[in-house]
Amino acid sequence: MRVSEKKTVIETKALTRIYSLGDSEVIGISSINLEIAARELVVLKGNSGSGKSTLLSLLSGLDRPTSGELKVAGHDLIKAPEEQLTRFRREVVGMVFQNFNLLPTLSVLENVCLPALLAGGWPEKIEPKAIDLLQWLGLGDRMAHQPAQLSGGEMQRTAIARALINDPAIILADEPTGNLDSRNGQLVIQLLAELHRTRERTVIIATHSNLADAFATMEICLKDGMITDTTCEV
C-alpha cells in the first residue's frame, strides 16, 4: 500500500459495516483504514462477498457505516445529516453500476440529465452538456432511445455520462464490466481511465477482473471485509 503525498480525498479509520440478517450478523467490512489522494485511479479487488460493494456504498454515501470514521472530499459522512448526504451524492460522487441502473421510463438523454436536474440546474444549461457527454461517449445517435433499446455497452456508457453530468470529483464504479462482453468491458475501462487521465478525476473501480490493472495508480485488495497486504488473488 502506497501513501500518496498529494491531497487526500478519501480517508477512513476503522471503518466497519455489519448487517443483521434476522438473528445472525454478517460482516460487510471490518476496520478499514484507508487514505486515497486526489486523481488516483484505484482498483478495488476482491472476491464476491469480500466487501467491495459495501465499501463503495459507504464511500458513495449510499449507506452508513456501523462504526469508524469516514471522510470523503472533506465531508464527514458519519456525522452528515440525510440532506447533506443527498447533496453529497449529487455533487461529489458519480456512480456507475454493474447493472447500469438506468430508469426505464426515461430516455437516454433524460437519464443523463436527471442528477443535474435533481441538483437544481437549469435544463437549458444541462442539456447541451449532456449532449456533449453523450457524443463524447459515442452515443450521439442514441439520445432519444429508451434504455431497453440499448445494448449493454451503450447502457453502461449512458450510466457513465450520467455519473459525469454534475462534474463529480470522484467516480465510483461497481463492477462496471460485470454485465458486459469483453470488448465492451474493455471499452468502458478505457473510458474510465481516460476520465482519470484527461479530466483529472479520482476514479475507484471495484472489480474482480484484471481489465483495469494496467491503468491503476493504486490497488486495494479486500478479503472477508478486510484489506489484505498480500497480492490480490482473484
Binding site: 463503495l56 440532506e83 421510463t105
Partner: protein, 862 residues
C-alpha cells in the same frame, strides 16, 4: 418556480410514463375512483336539488309572511280575518286555503290549488300573469268577478297544453268542475313554488269547490314595524282556543332538517363507494412503490431526496383523484338522471312533497366532491409514499439484503384493531343528534378500520394453520400460496381490508333490509289490516283534512254487505318541530281483526285501558324522537281541544312522515269534540269466503250508492303499495351497494395484479428452479382463494356487527325506528358463494398477467 417545473418534469418522466405503460390497471383504478366520486357527487347533488326545490317552494309560498295563524289539524273560522285585520299590531293579514287537486282524466298527479283573496294577499306574495295574446289590464280581477276561474302555473300549462281562455276540468274530493283559465303565471316568485305545478284561484271559488264554507287554512300576517312583545302577546291573547301563531320558517326548517338528515345518510352510504375507491388507489400506488423499488433506489443514489420521492407518490394519488373526478363528471351526468327523480320521489314519499324540475348545480357541492375525491386519493397514496421514502439508495447496488424491511408487528396491529372494534359497543349507546346518527357512523368507521387492522394477523394465522393442509389439498402450489399469504404482510392485508368492507356492507345491508322488510310486512299485516280503505278523494295528499260528509257516512253504515267498519280520523301535527300523526280509530273493532306490533307495554291492562280511553299508545319513532315513553303524559292542541293523556304503550310503526299517536275515537268524541270521520276501513265479517271477490263487490256497492266521491283502495293493494314504496326506497341503496361491489371487484383485480408484478423475480426464480407455468398460475389462484376466503369470513363477521349497528343504532338515530332482527339466511347462503366466485373471476386477469412477458426478458432488465 424552477423546482416546480422540474418536479412536474420528473413526475411526468417517472410516474406518468409508467402509468402510461400500465394504462389498463390505471384505467381500472381511475374508473373505480370515478365511479365512487360520481356516486357521491350525484347523490348529493340530487338531494340538494330536492332540498333547494323544497326550500324555495316554502319560501315562495310564505312570501313576505312574518307570522302564521293556524289551528293544528283543523281550520280557522273565516270571521277571524276581519277581527285580526283590524288589530292595531297587525299591518296586513291574508287568509289562505290550499289543497291538492287533480286534472280530471289526466295523469292523476295532484297539484296545489291555492285560494287567496288577491287584494288582501297583495302585500304578501308576488305573482304576475305571463304576457299573452288576449292582453288586457286587470285580468286577475276575473278571479273575483267570475266563479270557477284560475290562473295556471307555467309547468301545468305546458304539461297539459292549456292556454288562457280555455277550460280545465279539476277534480277534488267533493266534485269535479270546469275552471276557466284566466291566465298563465309568469315564471317568477310564487309561480316557482312546487316547480310551477300550482294554480291560483279566488278564496271564494276555493271554498265553493271544496265545500269548505266559512273555513280557512291559515291567516298570514305582517306586523306593524314597531312590534313590541306586549303587542305580540296581545294578538295571541285575542285568538280563539286552539289557534296557534307560528313563524313560516318553522315548517320549512323541520322539512329541511329531514331532507338534510337524509342527505347525510345517503352521503355516507355513497361515501362507501368512494372509500372502496380509495383502496383501489392505494393498491395501485402501492404497486408502483413496490415494483419500482429498485428504480426508487437509483433515483435516490443519483441524488433525489426522500422527500422528493414522497411528493412524487403523493402526486400520483392527486393525479388519480383529479383524473377520477374529471372522469366522474360524465358518469355523474348519466347517474344523476336516474337519481334526481328517484331521490325526489323518495323524499316526497318519506318526508315532504318536493317537485324537482331540474338539477341545480351547486358550486359548494361540486367543490365538496372535488375536495373529498382529492383528499381520499391523496390519503390513499400517503402510505405507499411513506414506503417509497424509506427506500435506501444503496439498494441500487443490488446488495441482496432486505433485512431492514422488518416484519411489521401484526399482533400489535391486531390488538389495536380489536380495541377499535370493542369501542363500537359504547359508541353505539350514544344518542344521535338531530336525526344524524353521528356516533353510529363513527362506530361503523371504527369497525371497518378495526377489521382492516386485524386482517394481517388473520392472514398470518390462516397461512400458518392452513399451509400444511393446503399441501395435501392442492399440492405444492397451494402450499406455497399459504406460505406466501402468511408472510405477505400488510399489503395483502389492505386488499383484504377492501374486500372485508365490501362484504360487510353487503351482509349488513342484506340483513338490515331483510329485517326491515320483514318487520314492515308484519306491521302492514297487523296494524294496516283491513279489507277495504275509503277516504275522501285525494285524502292522503290533503292530509285527510276534508272529512266524509254525513250522507256518505249514513250510506256506508247501512251497506248490504256484512262488514264491520272502523272509522278513523288522522290529524297531521307537530310536536315541537317533530311531525307526527294523531290517529283516532275505533280501537275495539280494530283489535278484533288487527293488532299492534308492541314494543313496550303489550299488557292486557294496557290494551284494556286503551279501549276504555284512559290513554294513548305511541309509535316507537314518536317515543324516540320526543323522549316520551310509557307513563309519560302526552299533550297536544287538536283543533279546538287541548288533549292530555297518559302514554300506555309503545308500538312499532313505519309511517315515514314522523311518528304516530293512537287513541280511541269514541272516547275522543265524548271527552273532547266530534272529530268527524276522515276515512273508514272495512273488515269482512266472513273470513272464509273468497276475500278478493268480496272486496270487489263491496267496492261496487259503495260506488253504486255514493258515486265517485270516495278514494278507495283494497287492504291488499294498500299493503302491496307500502311494500312497493319500501322496495323503491331501497332501490337506491341497492344501486349504491352494487357499485361498491364493482369497485371492490376492481380492487381484487388490482391487488392480485400488484402481488403478481411485485414478485416477478420470485416467480422467475420459481420458474428457474423448475416450477411449470401451470403450477405458478395455480399458486396465484390459491393465493386469491385464501385472500377471498379470509376477506369474506372477516367481512361476514364484520357485517353481522354492522347489521346490528344499522338496525338498532343507525336506523334508530336517523329515523327513530328499529326492526325485529332477522338473518336472511337464504339470501346470504346464495350470495356469499356468489361473491367468492365473483372475486375469483376478478382474480383471473391477474393470473393471466403471470409471465405475460417471457422470463428471459425480465432477467435482462434487471
Amino acid at each position: 418556480m424552477r423546482s416546480l417545473v422540474f418536479f412536474l418534469r420528473l413526475f411526468s418522466w417517472f410516474s406518468l410514463r409508467h402509468i402510461g405503460k400500465h394504462w389498463f390497471q390505471a384505467m381500472l383504478v381511475l374508473f373505480g375512483i370515478a365511479l365512487g366520486a360520481a356516486v357521491f357527487t350525484s347523490v348529493r347533488l340530487s338531494v340538494h336539488a330536492s332540498l333547494r326545490s323544497f326550500t324555495s317552494s316554502m319560501n315562495h309560498i310564505a312570501g313576505r309572511t312574518e307570522k302564521v295563524l293556524a289551528r293544528p289539524g283543523g281550520f280557522l273560522p273565516e270571521s277571524l280575518v276581519s277581527a285580526i285585520i283590524n288589530h292595531p299590531s297587525v299591518r296586513n293579514a291574508s287568509p289562505m286555503l290550499s289543497g291538492y287537486v287533480q286534472h280530471f282524466g289526466a295523469d292523476k298527479e295532484p297539484f296545489l290549488l291555492i285560494g287567496i283573496d288577491p287584494i288582501l294577499d297583495r302585500p304578501f306574495r308576488s305573482w304576475q300573469i305571463a304576457k299573452g295574446k288576449p292582453r288586457k289590464v286587470g285580468m286577475w280581477l276575473d278571479l273575483l268577478k267570475e266563479p270557477y276561474t284560475l290562473i295556471l302555473g307555467g309547468a301545468l300549462a305546458r304539461q297539459y297544453g292549456y292556454a288562457p281562455g280555455e277550460k280545465i276540468k279539476l277534480e277534488h274530493s267533493r266534485q269535479t268542475v270546469d275552471f276557466r283559465i284566466v291566465g298563465v303565471l309568469a315564471p317568477e316568485n310564487l309561480a316557482l313554488a312546487e316547480g310551477g305545478r300550482l294554480a291560483l284561484t279566488d278564496i271564494a271559488t276555493f271554498q265553493e269547490f271544496t265545500g269548505l264554507y266559512g273555513k280557512i287554512d291559515r291567516i298570514d300576517l305582517r306586523l306593524q314595524p314597531e312590534q313590541t312583545a306586549e303587542n305580540f302577546q296581545n294578538i295571541v291573547s285575542t285568538l280563539p282556543p286552539g289557534v296557534i301563531m307560528s313563524s313560516p320558517s318553522e315548517r320549512r326548517e323541520s322539512g329541511q332538517a329531514m331532507i338534510r338528515a337524509y342527505q347525510l345518510n345517503l352521503s355516507i352510504l355513497s361515501f362507501a363507494s368512494l372509500f372502496v375507491g380509495m383502496f383501489l388507489v392505494y393498491s395501485l400506488v402501492a404497486l408502483n412503490a413496490a415494483s419500482r423499488r429498485h428504480e426508487l433506489a437509483i433515483l435516490r443514489s443519483t441524488g433525489a431526496s426522500a422527500r422528493l420521492l414522497f411528493l412524487i407518490f403523493l402526486a400520483q394519488g392527486t393525479v388519480f383523484g383529479l383524473a377520477g373526478w374529471l372522469l366522474a363528471i360524465p358518469i355523474s351526468s348519466f347517474l344523476i338522471k336516474y337519481l334526481l327523480h328517484g331521490v325526489s320521489q323518495t323524499i316526497s314519499t318519506l318526508f315532504v312533497r318536493v317537485t324537482v324540475e331540474q338539477l341545480s348545480l351547486n358550486s359548494w357541492e361540486i367543490f365538496l366532491s372535488f375536495m373529498v375525491t382529492i383528499f381520499i386519493s391523496v390519503l390513499a397514496a400517503y402510505l405507499p409514499a411513506r414506503e417509497a421514502m424509506q427506500v435506501s439508495p444503496k439498494e441500487a447496488l443490488s446488495i441482496a439484503e432486505h433485512s431492514e424491511q422488518a416484519d411489521k408487528p401484526t399482533l400489535r396491529l391486531a390488538g389495536l384493531g380489536i380495541f377499535f372494534i370493542v369501542l363500537v359497543w359504547p359508541l353505539s349507546k350514544l344518542p344521535g343528534y338531530a336525526g344524524v346518527p353521528l356516533p353510529g357512523y363513527i362506530a361503523t368507521l371504527l369497525l371497518f378500520t378495526g377489521f382492516a387492522m386485524l386482517s394481517p394477523w388473520i392472514l398470518e394465522q390462516l397461512g400458518k394453520a392452513l399451509a400444511p393442509k393446503l399441501r395435501r389439498l392442492g399440492g405444492m402450489p397451494a402450499y406455497l400460496a399459504g406460505r406466501y399469504i402468511r408472510g405477505s404482510g400488510n399489503r395483502t392485508a389492505i386488499s383484504v381490508g377492501a374486500l372485508i368492507t365490501a362484504v360487510a356492507l353487503f351482509v349488513s345491508l342484506v340483513i338490515m333490509i331483510h329485517s326491515f322488510r320483514q318487520t314492515v310486512q308484519l306491521w302492514a299485516y297487523q296494524t294496516v289490516s283491513g279489507d277495504l280503505f275509503a277516504t275522501t278523494k285525494m285524502g292522503e295528499v290533503n292530509q285527510f283534512r276534508y272529512p266524509l260528509s254525513p250522507e256518505v257516512i249514513r250510506t256506508l253504515t247501512t251497506l248490504d254487505a256484512p262488514v264491520d267498519l272502523v272509522p278513523n280520523r288522522r290529524y297531521f301535527l307537530n310536536y315541537g318541530k317533530f311531525p307526527y300523526e294523531f290517529e283516532l280509530l275505533d280501537v275495539v273493532t280494530f283489535l278484533r281483526y288487527g293488532s299492534y306490533v308492541w314494543l313496550k307495554g303489550p299488557s292486557e291492562t294496557a290494551i284494556h285501558r286503551l279501549i276504555s280511553g284512559d290513554g294513548v299508545i305511541v309509535s316507537e319513532v314518536f317515543s324516540n324522537r320526543t323522549g316520551l315513553t310509557v307513563g309519560d303524559l302526552f299533550r297536544a292542541q287538536i283543533e279546538t281541544s287541548l288533549v292530555e293523556l297518559p302514554i300506555l304503550g309503545v308500538v312499532r310503526d313505519y309511517r315515514t312522515q314522523g311518528g304516530v299517536v293512537f287513541y280511541a275515537m269514541p272516547h275522543f268524541k265524548r271527552r273532547f269534540h266530534d272529530p268527524k270521520w276522515g276515512g273508514v276501513r272495512f273488515f269482512l265479517r266472513n273470513r272464509n269466503q273468497n276475500l278478493d271477490a268480496a272486496v270487489v263487490s263491496l267496492r261496487r256497492e259503495i260506488i253504486e250508492k255514493c258515486g265517485d266521491q270516495l278514494g278507495m283502495i283494497s287492504g291488499k293493494e294498500l299493503r302491496q303499495s307500502i311494500l312497493k314504496v319500501f322496495d323503491e326506497t331501497f332501490a337506491i341503496t341497492t344501486i349504491l351497494l352494487f357499485i361498491a361491489f364493482v369497485i371492490a371487484a376492481l380492487g381484487i383485480t388490482t391487488t392480485l395484479a400488484v402481488l403478481v408484478l411485485e414478485r416477478t423475480s420470485q416467480l422467475n426464480t420459481l420458474y428457474a428452479v423448475g416450477a411449470s407455468f401451470g403450477q405458478i398460475r395455480r399458486m396465484i389462484f390459491w393465493e386469491s382463494i385464501l385472500m377471498v376466503i379470509a376477506g369474506e369470513t372477516a367481512g361476514f363477521l364484520c357485517g353481522l356487527i354492522l347489521s346490528y349497528l344499522l338496525v338498532f343504532v343507525i336506523n334508530r338515530q336517523s329515523f327513530g325506528w328499529t326492526f325485529l332482527y332477522g338473518l336472511d339466511l337464504k339470501a346470504l347462503v346464495f350470495s356469499l358463494p356468489l361473491i367468492i366466485l365473483t372475486a375469483l373471476m376478478a382474480a383471473l386477469p391477474a393470473i393471466r398477467l403471470v409471465f405475460r412477458q417471457p422470463p428471459a426478458m425480465l432477467l435482462r432488465e434487471r
